[in-house]
Amino acid sequence: MTDQPLLSIRDFSLDFDTFDGVYHAIDDVNIDLHTGEALGIVGETGCGKSVTAKSILQLLPSPPARVTSGEIWLDGENFLTLDAKSIQKKRGIDVSMIFQDPMTYLNPVFTIGQQLVDVILAHQRLKPVGNRINKAAAKTRAMELLERVRLPNPERQFDSYPHELSGGMRQRILIAQALSGHPKILIADEPTTALDVTIQAQILDLIKDLINELGLSVVLITHDLGVVASICTRVVIMYAGQVVEDASVNEIFDNPKHPYTKGLLAAVPHPTQRASTLTGIPGNLPNLLDPPSGCRFRERCPLVREKCSERPRWTTLSDYHGIACWEFSESKHA
């Protein structure tokens, strides 16, 4: 793709210093996000999808996290080099984030209206004095946001405490907070994992509408391929801290190339077609304290070859499809 990406993660690697040694969580990750795009980052537990997303806003405590290489570019600024004060000004304004368990992110002793107004007022301090809005205007704005995220009875719920709301409603509050600074990018880290399917469908619908109405760019982190298929346009598949495949949704589901992506798809039961058998991926995740050299999937890979102990070259199969696997880079470049 030729146009300039909105967010660009380049050669990003990150380690955690632990008492057992250095945990190589992220290894040389490259991800681009374009304006108006909904990008899904998919992978199993421990693949580094949340760590990558949190690093964009420097949300990981350091130590133990330590960025070893790479750059994260947004609007001509490298986010990894910003100091604590400057990055704080980006949070919620350039990039907002919502999380899996909304209750953990809401303060149980304040009403949700209060918490939303607080966020809006906090954003005002970053603006020039003339442009700031006062408390009353902030309350109106909060009400608008609650309507925008389709919270039922916003007037009544304004003075509710988080424990009085259901999980789906709490997630709507979190989305309202995230939208209050007019961000360009919304990062949603497993936003529906803790919710029931009918509520999940409501929240996914809401996120879809926000993409269309506000032109928001979204990074959706999830382990659920169904969720990705229903709102994303592009998918990045991660395994053990590496990006293994990056393609449009159609390509990932209809024409998956990487053996890990294929394995994942074969493991997911489908709600309407009853496959005769599901195939799991044998073996376990490699220990990232001492990861295998080269391709980290090679110990579980059906196509493993000698060459796999070297890091596979990133190969572009088409405009919408890139892959890190020797199976494909060899046939093309040999």
């Binding site: 199993e44 039922p152 009918t198 391929l225 209809d254 493991a267 039961p269 489908h270 709600p271 309407t272």
Partner: protein, 317 residues
């Protein structure tokens, strides 16, 4: 082989000096399960599906109803009945990590039911446990490992080994794979399918994941607010759901494929509190096909549409 009649599980959550609050977790459920059947119990959180599973094993106090296993009544429970019940029915829980004692090696955990119910001891016991581990696909080195040394999938296999140690007739699986990654989930589901055929076990499979139920079960019961709203063969339920709630559930499941089917608008609102159940049909507060006058006043009864199909909805009565 399993026959549940009018099962009620109510929890009194009243606080001192406050209004009486009774959570009606399970409210008049009838279920039966033949030998070798796999019945999936689906519903959203708070629908009472796990409570039914626990009630069958008397892990929660039963308010009312009869639970028969092979014609053998287990309510009220006595010491003797409990012993027999545990031999015939076992449960597997969602989180294998908290279901295993962290201070016991695998051998001791899996051996526990055998020590309590059989005369196997010493090397015979160890051989039997090693056999069980082999059945669930774990090599015998695992005998002396502790739970923290195992992965999630391996721990769940240990739990399965322990559950089948006494050759039970009924296995109750309460979301056995929802804590696992999909690639591991696929392995466990396939393994459970084999196990069911090999030992002609009956499964009561509790899950919120319709795709998983579809894959493993031949019959499905859909629960909403402590009641069964629809029951039938898996293929029938998935192809032509009759109850509006079942339709909404199926409509809400995202498909892992590029082409997304046309969907109706998702259900609005949340599941009502099981303390103040709605008047009339439990689902009337969210139902897109609610009929004024009928649904808000009288609650529908679960009636037979055909031999294998039951539905509780005014639209079909």
């Amino acid at each position: 082989m399993l026959d549940i009649k009018d099962l009620k599980v109510h929890f009194d959550t009243s606080k001192p000096l406050k209004r009486k609050t009774i959570v009606k977790a399970v409210n008049g459920v009838n279920l039966s399960l033949a030998k070798g059947d796999a019945l999936g119990l689906v519903g959203e959180s708070g629908s009472g599906k796990s409570t039914i599973g626990k009630a069958i094993l008397h892990l929660v106090p039963i308010t009312n109803g009869s639970i028969k296993i092979d014609g053998f009544e287990t309510n009220p429970l006595s010491r003797k009945i409990e012993r027999e019940l545990r031999r015939r029915a076992q449960m597997i829980f969602q989180d294998p990590h908290s279901a295993l004692n962290p201070r016991l090696p695998v051998l001791r955990s899996v051996a526990e039911p055998l020590v309590l119910h059989t005369d196997l001891r010493g090397s015979e016991l160890r051989t039997k446990v090693a056999e069980l581990l082999e059945t669930v696909g774990l090599p015998s080195q695992f005998l002396y490992r502790y739970p923290h040394e195992l992965s999630g999938g391996q721990k769940q296999r240990v739990c399965i080994a322990r559950a089948i140690a006494l050759n039970p007739d009924l296995l109750i699986l309460d979301e056995p794979t929802s804590a696992l990654d999909v690639s591991v989930q696929a392995q466990i589901l396939e393994f459970l399918k084999e196990l069911q055929i090999k030992f002609s076990l009956s499964f009561l499979f509790i899950s919120h994941d319709l795709s998983v139920i579809r894959h493993l079960c031949n019959r499905v019961a859909v629960m909403y607010l402590g009641e069964i709203v629809e029951e039938g063969l898996t293929t029938d339920i998935f192809h032509s759901p009759k109850h509006p709630y079942t339709q909404a559930l199926l409509n809400a499941v995202p498909f892992p494929q590029a082409e997304q089917p046309d969907r109706e608008a998702p259900l609005t609102g949340d599941i009502p509190s099981p303390v103040d159940l709605p008047i009339g049909c439990n689902f009337s507060t969210r139902c897109p096909k609610m009929m004024k006058g009928t649904c808000e006043t009288t609650s529908p009864i679960l009636s037979e549409l055909s031999k294998t199909r039951k539905v509780a909805c005014h639209l079909h009565s």
